[in-house]
Amino acid sequence: MRDTTHMDVSYVANLARIELTDEETELFQGQLDQVLEYVEQLNELDVSTVEPTAHAAPRVNVLRSDEPSASLANDLVIGNAPAARDGQILVPKINEQF
């Protein structure tokens, strides 16, 4: 059986785009291992015939009327960006070739 009570915290933190210090990695490793060990108790239950619940009040295909309406004003939205120019959000270069 797979070792499900131990996760590689620094690997998962990288997936979540969170940089951790060595101290944080060590601290979280211990704390999260404890939590994962705790949730192992769910294995006591036979859930092979149980349907999963994704939502407290299941709803499907919720549609609203398809009518155009005003969006948020550009200056309100761009005004929140940490860096902007000409009504657009500035980000670091994404493509190495250009």
Partner: protein, 504 residues
């Protein structure tokens, strides 16, 4: 402006409008006995006197509160009598109010200004309420003590050495300290009911879908619900009525009638004909005996009011914490991906976007938020999804089914809200699992989507409030409000107020 004398007795006197309930103030306003400006004056004075100790408010715009009060008075003079006309309400700092910050008590939203109103805020405005200020919370609503706020410490009004509970700790503390007439909070796993229990006020988590979540900063979308924190059950009913309703902007909001919850609660406090369930699983091991006694006394009291008490069983309750911390963190890891330093809030630059994300999120999120995002990412990751997330969703079904069965034989369920009264600041903050385990009595309600009310049912020998939880089936808020109102009005615990020393 009326003269406010310094000193405890003066401040606690009946003269202060800040001590009144919504219901009382609406009556006084209607009779012309006070104005909304008078109310705001007294509430701001209470904040000035007490918030240095309590630390509930993160931002308070006095000028806009005054302006709103004058406007509410002017509207009333012209005949407008909204459901909350002229009543100041404090707002948990994760609800968007146009033009105001919305920090979620996190550094990562530094500099953010909300570009729109949450639906509940629009509804409060429509009802004539005054938006008073923004109150503290655990960062992104993750926590049970408000110690996870990156922006300040909130203390319990009954004992400044103790936590106010969380995550809506600021909302509960400001209401208990009479620093607001009422407040809005949000409840994902107990975040309204538990701080209400710790601070001795009334907290209601409405049925999932009753209140629109549009404009609420999402933590766990299948569990989050906005609700009121108030001084009485009737106030809770009024505020619930004001914020309820179907909203096109939240696809999970449900199109059901909004009963006049406030008007349902009258002078007849008989519970004859009502069946109240008592789940043995909620008297958990390690529960403070004083809490258990207070709750059992409350059950006897309800029996005295004519209710029939029936034993019910919620056999999967003990799995709720495990299920909750898998599902809530999974959803949080997805919801909080939006805080990436690109579109709003803080940014730490990097040579490419990936480095920018990592640096920004590392500096912007506090430890509990990081832990939960990492856990949530893990339980959703390839190879572990079935073992954790899918299994948790299946056990969630079993927990829901327990309640469905229970509500076949009773109209509402009585239970404790927390295993212990408020604990000392710092006593659990180093041990996340220990803190999580305290949510055992509140998380099943969110997992099932049903409604739950917490209200005072006594005090510990240390003088700390104890909370009674009343649970109702989906869209049966009227049942829990009726039981809560009858219990409250025939006991009077809600009339007790914390005493502030030092010229307060």
């Amino acid at each position: 402006m009326r003269n406010i004398k310094q000193g405890t007795e003066e401040f606690r006197s009946e003269e202060m409008l800040s001590t009144k309930t919504i219901t009382e103030l609406m009556g006084m306003l209607a009779e012309g006995e006070c104005t909304s400006v008078d109310i705001v004056t007294d509430v701001l004075a209470a904040i000035d006197a007490r918030d240095g100790q309590v630390g509930a408010y993160l931002t308070l715009d006095r000028n806009s509160a005054w302006a709103a009060a004058r406007e509410a008075d002017a509207e009333r003079a012209k005949g407008k009598t909204g459901l909350l006309q002229g009543v100041p309400i404090a707002i948990k700092d994760l609800l968007n109010v146009k033009g105001q910050p919305c920090t979620c008590a996190s550094k990562i939203l530094d500099g953010y200004t909300a570009p729109y109103d949450a639906t509940v805020i629009a509804k409060l405005r429509e009802a004539g309420a005054i938006l008073l200020g923004r109150v503290n919370m655990d960062e992104f609503a993750m926590g049970s003590s408000t110690e996870n706020s990156a922006l300040g410490r909130t203390t319990n009004p009954w004992d400044a050495q103790r936590v106010p509970g969380g995550s809506s700790g600021g909302s509960a503390a400001c209401v208990a300290a009479d620093e607001a007439v009422a407040a809005l909070g949000s409840d994902t796993g107990g975040s309204i009911r538990q701080p209400a229990a710790f601070c001795g006020c009334v907290g209601l988590k409405p049925t999932y879908g009753r209140v629109s979540r549009y404009g609420l900063t999402a933590f766990a979308s299948s569990l989050d619900q906005i609700g009121p924190l108030t001084k009485t059950v009737k106030d809770s009913a009024l505020l619930l009525e004001a914020i309820s309703g179907h909203d096109e902007k939240d696809s999970t909001s449900v199109d059901v009638d909004i009963p006049s919850f406030g008007k349902m609660l009258g002078e007849n406090h008989s519970l004859a004909g009502m069946k109240l369930g008592l789940p043995k699983e909620y008297f958990v091991e390690g529960m403070d005996p004083e809490v258990e006694k207070a709750v059992r006394d409350a059950v006897e009291h309800c029996k005295g009011l004519g209710a029939e008490i029936v034993d019910v069983s919620l056999p999967h309750s003990k799995y709720a914490i495990a299920v909750y911390y898998i599902i809530a963190t999974a959803e949080a890891s997805a919801n909080l991906a939006r805080f990436d330093g690109i579109r709003y809030g803080m940014r730490l630059n990097g040579k490419d976007p990936v480095e920018l994300y990592g640096r920004t999120r590392s500096a912007g999120f506090g430890p509990e938020v990081k832990r939960r995002i990492i856990l949530g990412t893990y339980v959703l990751s390839s190879g572990y999804y079935d073992a954790y997330y899918l299994r948790a969703q299946k056990v969630r079904t079993l927990i829901r089914n327990d309640f469905s069965e229970a509500f076949k034989v009773c109209d509402a369920i009585l239970a404790p809200c927390t295993p212990t009264p408020a604990y000392k600041i710092g006593s659990k903050s180093d041990d996340p699992l220990k803190m999580y385990l305290d949510d055992i009595l509140t998380t099943p309600i969110n997992l099932s989507g049903i409604c739950g009310l917490s209200l005072p049912c006594g005090f510990s020998s240390d003088g700390l409030p104890i909370g009674l939880q009343i649970l109702g089936d989906s869209f049966r808020e009227e049942n829990i409000l009726k039981v809560g109102h009858a219990y409250e009005q025939t006991t009077g615990w809600h009339k007790q107020k914390p005493i502030f020393s030092r010229n307060m």
